[in-house]
Symmetry: D2
Subunit: 408 residues, 4 copies
Amino acid sequence: MLKEISSYAERLKVELLDFMEEYIYPAEKEVEEYLENPENRWTIPPIIEELKQKAKSQGLWNLFYADDNYGKGLTNYEYAYLCEIMGRSLIAPEIFNCNAPDTGNMEVLIKYGNEEQKQEWLTPLLEGEIRSIFSMTEPTIASSDATNIQTEIIRVGNEYVINGKKWWSTGAIDPRCKIAIVMGKTDPSAEPHKQQSMILVPMDTPGIEIKRPLKVFGYDHAPTGHAEVHYNNVRVPISNLLLGEGRGFEIAQGRLGPGRIHHAMRGIGQAERALDLLIDRAEEREAFGSKLIDKDVIRVQIAESRLEIEQARLLTLSTAHKIDQYGAKAARKEIAMIKIAVPRVALNVIDRAIEVHGGGGVSQDFPLAEHYAHARTLRIVDGPDQVHIRDIAKLEIRERRKNKSIKL
Amino acid sequence: MLKEISSYAERLKVELLDFMEEYIYPAEKEVEEYLENPENRWTIPPIIEELKQKAKSQGLWNLFYADDNYGKGLTNYEYAYLCEIMGRSLIAPEIFNCNAPDTGNMEVLIKYGNEEQKQEWLTPLLEGEIRSIFSMTEPTIASSDATNIQTEIIRVGNEYVINGKKWWSTGAIDPRCKIAIVMGKTDPSAEPHKQQSMILVPMDTPGIEIKRPLKVFGYDHAPTGHAEVHYNNVRVPISNLLLGEGRGFEIAQGRLGPGRIHHAMRGIGQAERALDLLIDRAEEREAFGSKLIDKDVIRVQIAESRLEIEQARLLTLSTAHKIDQYGAKAARKEIAMIKIAVPRVALNVIDRAIEVHGGGGVSQDFPLAEHYAHARTLRIVDGPDQVHIRDIAKLEIRERRKNKSIKL
Amino acid sequence: MLKEISSYAERLKVELLDFMEEYIYPAEKEVEEYLENPENRWTIPPIIEELKQKAKSQGLWNLFYADDNYGKGLTNYEYAYLCEIMGRSLIAPEIFNCNAPDTGNMEVLIKYGNEEQKQEWLTPLLEGEIRSIFSMTEPTIASSDATNIQTEIIRVGNEYVINGKKWWSTGAIDPRCKIAIVMGKTDPSAEPHKQQSMILVPMDTPGIEIKRPLKVFGYDHAPTGHAEVHYNNVRVPISNLLLGEGRGFEIAQGRLGPGRIHHAMRGIGQAERALDLLIDRAEEREAFGSKLIDKDVIRVQIAESRLEIEQARLLTLSTAHKIDQYGAKAARKEIAMIKIAVPRVALNVIDRAIEVHGGGGVSQDFPLAEHYAHARTLRIVDGPDQVHIRDIAKLEIRERRKNKSIKL
Amino acid sequence: MLKEISSYAERLKVELLDFMEEYIYPAEKEVEEYLENPENRWTIPPIIEELKQKAKSQGLWNLFYADDNYGKGLTNYEYAYLCEIMGRSLIAPEIFNCNAPDTGNMEVLIKYGNEEQKQEWLTPLLEGEIRSIFSMTEPTIASSDATNIQTEIIRVGNEYVINGKKWWSTGAIDPRCKIAIVMGKTDPSAEPHKQQSMILVPMDTPGIEIKRPLKVFGYDHAPTGHAEVHYNNVRVPISNLLLGEGRGFEIAQGRLGPGRIHHAMRGIGQAERALDLLIDRAEEREAFGSKLIDKDVIRVQIAESRLEIEQARLLTLSTAHKIDQYGAKAARKEIAMIKIAVPRVALNVIDRAIEVHGGGGVSQDFPLAEHYAHARTLRIVDGPDQVHIRDIAKLEIRERRKNKSIKL
């Protein structure tokens, strides 16, 4: 470890590893089987709520927030190590109340919510009693350029009236989901980055229509799911606005930094698990006269995977530390970098593990194909690679211009 | 076209393109919607059988077999062009009675079946009245090394008794599936490549247990599906054996050549469709001040896709022609090459198209994610890349040793 | 072979292979040793002129030109096979009078020269008595965009006065070099593609200054060399202009098609030789208990090399055939494609061979490092990849727009 | 910086950056021009010795050794930052007395030399008065497997008699080179890793034959050079043996760790310089209507370069820190990893910079092609990638076996 973590964080790490071994991995099949039953499909597997209580009672709860009022006072750097561990299982983050988009939404409420908003929505979210969605992406535009957004949030008297179509609103179908943060335009005539606002919309408000579940590859991700949600003349009081009109971009920016660390470290966790599975499988199987593990071509895959994972992890940890030291804005380039680097690595490693598992690799017998679909989607969420590559290059060129004194 | 195709093949090509436009693409959504209804899930969408009749009546039927008794007398080279067109849609091959594994199974029956076997199973397969499975891969071994296979086919009196567990038996759940070709060992004490035999097993034989449907990246591919099938003391008359005891490898080899051409050309078709979708999407969407189609990074993706597709197509066509000229055995190296090259290209192009489609790309709104899952699986079917790479290298080294006179 | 070549071409191929074995490969070391002597550095190794005579007397001469007045009447497709063979050795093309830039320059003279120009320069070039340069690229601009070119060709009375700085004028230092084709602007106020002209400039014209030899990865490529050439008030009669004022672009375009086939097929030849060397070396060396040739990781490299070479060759042959059938303009996209595809493949294969040769691979003991430097340069000559990628994408998008009727 | 460096190291870093700007970069052309003169080719450019004195007097000297008797008391982690800076110029390391193979040889003498050996050879090396070679690799075997080594070191009375052929003895032609460390077999009948010994051989000992200079691509790297050296009955006193008979492997292992950090960080320096050059060039040139720097495809290259460099640097720094904490043996896997990762990155970035520089990129006008040749060679020095990939995989599998308790 280039930089040590506190003994408290170290202890949490050990406890988390134990919890994963003892409860999470064994629960995966139970959850899957529960959900395979068509009657249960969009309901919550009881084991999930049980394990949430257990995790909460052990203090493995709300670890994500770098502050000790709401979280556990861990730095982003320290939490990164924990996040990697949780990332090894798709069911884990929720159990520790550290799952997206709830963490991001809690962060928005902590930073930009007023007391009333906090009390009504933040408290039950921190308790894991309700869930939330972040309704930003739209189906008919390139949402990576947020100025394209077409949803309207129009003030009419003491209310805002919301009209628009959103999709990829993860969690909207979950019966526990109670609140949406919706991004839309309050003033399409303002300058491009001042047109947008964010507003709180309770899920039981009339006019919210859960249009359909979206699939990711063939997965519907029940019971959380990803929904297309239409807002048809949805009315909420003006007090539901976050921060102020025209400040939607500001909130979106503020929401991003730590969230990207979380996504990235979970990606590292997935890659590590895939590598473990790859090795285990290669130890078991034999072909053409020797065990797979003794074949050089398999060893190349193991070594290349380790090379990729290690570098991506260091980049993410280093970015987390930079956020801790100088804030997310100073780490903009690094944050864009991990957004690109980690899903690539995860996809590469998982793909190699799939290959070694043969038919098993693409099937439901291993978590590989589902993890692959998840990691592939991460490349798209929050904008495709190209958007971040533009940002990295812009910042890089700017730095070189500053140091241009260096003659070569 | 480096080598022209006959005017008959050219005409079929035009008719096929028209059929795709007029019937196949529009039917895709209908099939999907039909199957979305849980009650229909494992039943046959009526449109499929309708279109089969239409295709048959137009002579677009059994085009795959390079002989004019059973097929249409097209060479492998000529059929390759048609196969690419069918490959653009996952529902198409069946409609023209050109879908795997039925084509391979028909080929086995034509080449190795006796008259009785042909009459009972080949005729209804050629008519598209029944479907069939090829039961070879097993869940507990590395099936890429076929000497690992553990299913037993033991002669007891006038019967063979079959015991074993197979998976990835594509089509086994399809209600129209009537016959299995099963590979197993008749003599585990024989030399490694003489232990195996293939046998015909009617699907209604007692002891056949359809254990469960397998998923491919979340897709169950209903109503065809991929099943784990257990053979528990399944008894069939000795006349059901194909070719003779110990000749299973020989049949497996004979089955492979043209089938790989088919898989490869369908992969090219998928890649072409993905490239069309990529361009169309980029024409529609705008971000950061210009249309996607006018951005250089998108153009790079288009050009690289064309580069990859064109080369892989030429390799496949050239292999098909070599089979036509010298037989599949002489084209062993080339056949192994297309097995590796084409799915890679298809995956690359589809992946680029997914990225340009953003969230839509991984969803059910476009065929991209499902095609990706399909192409990924093709890398595993008939053995992972490594197996074919070994073969290519072996043949390559052998050729160099022959020409070693060349001083460098 | 997807398309057969004539028996005449087939015979030339056999003769060429024999000539390479018997004369060219053995001469490589002799040439190298001759040039290692500092006194000989920029003089012609006698063996080169001897072998030229031998090749000429055997009819292995001027094979490149697809016409039987000047060449041997081979199609571009047929010549491609021969070109690959010559490409295996850097000293070979000159010996058969098929080396760049002379072939391109001869083509320019054949197509665009008048009788006088032909008699004075084409005849001795066809006889291999003199050599020539093509002076186009300039050191201070991005020459890939030819509208940037700054050399002036100004008419003054009955003369043109040429001023400008060129570099990468391959062959300028060769004592046999007698004539330059120079590109420059006759009218900077004309529309962008009508400003340029090409003109013949005898190398003994006053004002031509051979500034310095350029190196390619440390190689000076003596005695041919690549020179920076300054044209300082160089005066030639107006009859030296080719085709007419403002037609430089037209000539440049016309010069390109077949030349790219030649470069590409020579690249394939280099790749094939590298693969032969790789295999031969791996047969000889042993490490960690077995021969390199028996290690799977080496076999992967062999197989991947074969995969890449085969596809790139087919692409090039197919492009050559398209030029034969429809002319270079119709094959624009394909010509751009081989420009990108082949050097990549050559570099990949040579790089693998270097790795297998260890220290020997980067040294003068094998032709690998020099071939690498050569293939790397080919990626830059006639414009870097990005320029061609733009063209491919533009043509691809145009085709899709035409076929947009296809519903997906 | 994930882990801070001492204020002393920070100060050295600033001084080194200044020294590079003020003296090193401007001296590059002078050195090149001096050596271009054939009379000077194998002599030392006076500016080199001048700058050595200047660096020494400023305390920028022997920074490499992690100990304050011989070096400056910097940790490997701290020195890594300095090493990167020196790596930006091929002439720099020598000027700070931090160049290979002298650093490694000094380390061997410090760790394994006796007092007499130290006084005679270590002192002048530390003073920069003499230079040394490391004679290990042999031309006729795969030297990556050191058990293949064939040089004999046979005891005869009070002398060892050395016979063998070595190559890639960097520095052997340098007139200042006075001492060789030679590896050979003292006992070919011992167990494989006890057969080897290392011995000190003064360069003026009779029987040492500098056979020829080797080239790297086309570079001879005069005046240092890489030589093929034959040892023909070379006799030295038995006191010249290092550590003891049969302990050659032990010394070779001990020599490696920090040296790999040095190579790696210099590679990072080369990559950074290439990226600077790429950006600077793209700022200057224009094509097809806009500056290169404003083209998205160039920006992709900048961003991808930054992504690769940053990750490889973090991996190397983290490895250096692990060596500081736990020693080189504990960091074996990481040391193997940087050996592979960094040259790849350097090659990728330099190659992109070459492409942006067009013809200039492969020429002597920029350091890019020479740096490329250097980085390519680094992939081979100390064994090709495959050797290190084997080691990484072995250690990785071993770790997984230990943690196998983790159920997935």
